[in-house]
């Protein structure tokens, strides 16, 4: 029994683990990844049926009103299966932004459709120059008669190739790195002037770079109030970082299971290689990295009330996950030897996901530096 979870969360955990173990086999996943959408639309429908798409969305708009702790349970399960469906892009980023800052009309229009699996979203924010600075936005939105005109470029927009609606950040005011003057817009993927350059990622997800050239949107496309989007953006991304931490914890757990099993069965020099002390100690350290990470992520998912606490919790989680994920990932490959290098074997795929999680929303070093600044202020 997992003492850190509520009864409801335990049921959710069982449900997602049952799904992953029964329906999300490594070979099946391979066929989905290589297929047209890059994931399984049938799975997406199942997610809707099981209430997973509705989980963190507000109850007034077809959601279940779940907490970040609930999301962490689901994401841990997704990490175990290396789930490629665009959950992060649609539910944790796009829909969260609408739920947090959208107008009533947007919420009524978008959120129930997301919950039912009828609509997928993507959040276009990062730009070529911004690296991990969430305030750094050059894309401009100029107010005109009855709407806005958007110009600029967006990078690594996860889920964009298959999204039904893009949530795009742009500057209506302020300098390039100002937290003031940022706005968010709903943009149709087939809008005139929008170019979507789609690609696959190292870890089998799909993303795109966008170019916006005089893209016209109605005034009703503005999400919330003009110029006041930054708190929504940072809060959404920080919550997503903790959820991503849970996914990494699930991936680490499976990678450890694979590795420990291999140490018990692979024989060299007439003994299972797990009989060698240097490998035994490595295994113990890998398990320690996972246990510490899991305790940290689930605690942070529960905490994080005010903005300052959330920012610190998210950075601390990202550092912990980044370091632990790198250690577990690299050692899993090393301990497997040659077989760990192959495309056929699962370990490499978990390693790649853990590696890419570190590069998403800011690396370990980036967040260590943010944390170092804020922790000196608060201590």
């Amino acid at each position: 029994m997992d003492i850190m979870l509520s009864d409801e969360q335990r049921l959710l955990k069982e449900s997602v683990e049952r799904f992953i173990a029964g329906e999300y086999g490594f070979e099946q996943r391979k066929s989905w990844v290589e297929g047209g959408a890059g994931y399984s639309p049938e799975n997406w429908a199942t997610f809707a049926e099981l209430g997973w798409l509705a989980l963190p969305l507000p109850e007034d708009h077809g959601g279940l009103g779940g907490t970040l702790g609930d999301v962490a349970v689901l994401m841990e399960g997704f990490g175990r299966g290396l789930v490629v469906e665009p959950y992060l892009a649609t539910v944790l980023l796009g829909a969260q932004i609408i739920a947090d800052a959208g107008t009533d009309a947007q919420k009524v229009d978008i959120l129930p459709r997301v919950a039912e699996g009828q609509m997928k979203l993507a959040f276009a924010h990062t730009e070529r120059q911004s690296r991990y600075d969430l305030t750094d936005v050059k894309t401009e939105a100029k107010a005109g008669s009855g709407g806005f005109t958007l110009n600029g470029q967006k990078s690594i927009v996860f889920g964009a190739p298959d999204a039904d609606l893009l949530v795009v950040s742009a500057r209506t005011d302020g300098g390039q790195r100002s937290a003031e003057g940022l706005s968010l817009f709903c943009v149709a993927p087939d809008a005139a002037g929008l170019t979507v350059r789609a690609y696959g990622t190292q870890d089998d997800h799909r993303a795109a770079d966008l170019t916006l050239e005089n893209v016209e949107v109605d005034a009703s496309a503005l999400i919330g109030s003009a110029g006041e989007a930054f708190p929504t953006i940072s809060k959404t991304v920080q919550r997503a970082m903790i959820a991503l931490g849970a996914e990494a914890v699930g991936a680490m757990d499976v990678l450890n299971e694979l590795t420990f099993e291999y140490l018990k069965t692979r024989k060299q020099f007439g003994a299972p290689i797990g009989a060698f002390q240097s490998l035994q100690h490595r295994a113990a350290e890998m398990l320690m990295a996972h246990k510490l990470s899991r305790a940290m992520v689930f605690r942070m998912a529960k905490a994080s009330a005010d903005d300052e606490a959330l920012a610190q919790a998210a950075s601390a989680t990202k550092v912990q996950i980044g370091q632990a994920g790198k250690f577990v990932g690299q050692q899993a490959i090393q301990l497997h030897g040659g077989i760990g290098m192959t495309h056929e074997y699962a370990a490499g795929h978990y390693f790649k996901r853990l590696t890419m999680i570190d590069a998403l929303f800011g690396t370990t070093d980036h967040h260590l530096s943010s944390y170092a600044t804020s922790s000196f202020i608060s201590s």
Binding site: L263, H281, A284, L292, Q312, A316, Y371, F376
Partner: protein, 398 residues
């Protein structure tokens, strides 16, 4: 970052804080703050204050004198005491032999020893390691031979922390050399005033004197001092290892030390500013703080599992390994922080009542000795390598 507390937990924390503020003698607090050496009377003074309040054994069952606190309350209590610079509560009686007596001792042993552990009347020390038996503890040679209603004990124990203060020693002794090595070991309680016991201090490289050799020369120990059954000592010792490991993480003490290091950094000049403006230093401190947060999260999890009756798994080893890694990293950062004034070695400055003008800043005197001394943490209580062996056995079963 701080812990998230409920209203009840905040009230509890406030109550502990008020009590400690009103009852911890200033002289004691100051000694701990300056990392000066504490004597027997220092430790006992604080022990007795907590005992009088009924707070000396939060980890014990209520019927034996425990507090009945929740795991979170116990964690808050430890944290408050450490933050307030209270002397460490010695674990040898309360966390080590106490629970063994509670679980495996007979009624007479419980009635005699447990109240004396609570009151501080008996100071206990641990007779495990021997000159030839460290990490390979089961190779211990100290022999106990039954002679009527006594055991006659011959051998030597070493690395015995605070044996010089101790009234009693719990000891692993060999009562048989037949069969498996572990099966010939028994758990014996000895009065340190017995004839034939000689305590010889071992000075450590930091200049301190915490550890000792204990020579046992034809020591006659009443047979009634045997815990449980002859030959079952290894089982009791293993039980002890799994008990109360959350204390090994020393979250509160490490958090206080981190705060202290940051305070020092803010007063150490560097260029136009101070050391705390140095991004590299700040990141080192932040990295330790994040490690500490992760460890604290694991402690909270283990405490919750313990109170739900779960057996300790590999987590107890992880608390020891990570807790000591953090302690060592902090001692290293403190050494770096004091810079040039790490050099002067003035042993008297580490003794209480030293009133001379310090050489350099007062906080610098203990920095290097503390760093040297804390290398012990990854060695004692089962080296960190032994902890990894234990974990590997659990997960690989090889």
């Amino acid at each position: 970052m701080m812990m998230e507390l409920s209203a009840d937990e905040s009230a509890f924390r406030d109550a502990v804080r008020v009590f400690v503020a009103g009852n911890l003698p200033a002289a004691l607090r100051q000694k701990v703050e300056r990392a000066q050496h504490l004597g027997r009377e220092d430790f006992l003074a604080w022990h007795k204050i907590l005992h009088a309040k009924g707070w000396i054994a939060p980890g014990w069952p209520v019927e034996h004198g425990g507090t009945g606190w929740s795991p979170m309350q116990r964690h808050i209590f430890d944290d408050e005491l450490a933050t307030a610079c209270a002397p460490q509560i010695m674990p040898f009686g309360l966390s080590m032999v106490g629970p063994v007596i509670m679980n495996f001792g007979n009624d007479a042993q419980k009635a005699h020893y447990l109240p004396r552990i609570l009151s501080g009347e008996d100071w206990w020390c641990q007779g495990y390691s021997e000159p030839g038996a460290g990490s390979d503890l089961a190779s211990l040679k100290t022999k106990a031979v039954r002679d009527g209603d006594h055991y006659v004990v011959d051998g030597a124990k070493t690395w015995t922390t605070y044996a010089q203060f101790a009234d009693m020693m719990f000891c692993l002794v060999r009562t048989s050399s037949e069969g498996k090595r572990q099966e010939g070991i028994s758990f014996l309680l000895m009065d340190m005033k017995s004839d034939g016991i000689t305590v010889k201090p071992i000075r450590t490289m930091d200049g301190g004197q915490e550890i000792n050799e204990v020579f046992l020369d034809n020591v006659r120990v009443p047979a009634e001092n045997l815990i449980g059954e002859e030959g079952k000592g290894w089982t009791y010792a293993k039980f002890l290892l799994g008990y109360e490991r959350t204390g090994m993480a020393t979250i509160g003490r490490s958090r206080r030390q981190l705060k202290e290091v940051r305070k020092i950094a803010a007063s150490e000049p560097l260029g136009e500013g101070t050391l705390s403006d140095d991004p590299k230093f700040r990141e080192k401190a932040a990295a330790i703080e994040i490690d500490l947060l992760a460890l604290e999260s694991l402690v909270l999890q283990v405490l919750a599992e313990q109170s739900a009756g779960a057996n300790p798994g590999p987590e107890s080893s992880f608390l020891k390994i990570k807790g000591t890694e953090i302690q060592q990293a902090l001692s290293e950062l403190l050494l770096e922080a004091v810079g040039n004034y790490a050099h002067p070695f003035v042993p008297e400055a580490l003794e209480h009542g030293w009133n001379e003008e310090p050489i350099g800043p007062a906080y610098a005197a203990a920095a290097a000795p503390h760093y040297f001394n804390y290398r012990k943490t990854s060695i004692y209580g089962g080296t960190n390598e032994i902890q990894k062996n234990i974990v590997a056995k659990m997960i690989l079963g090889l």
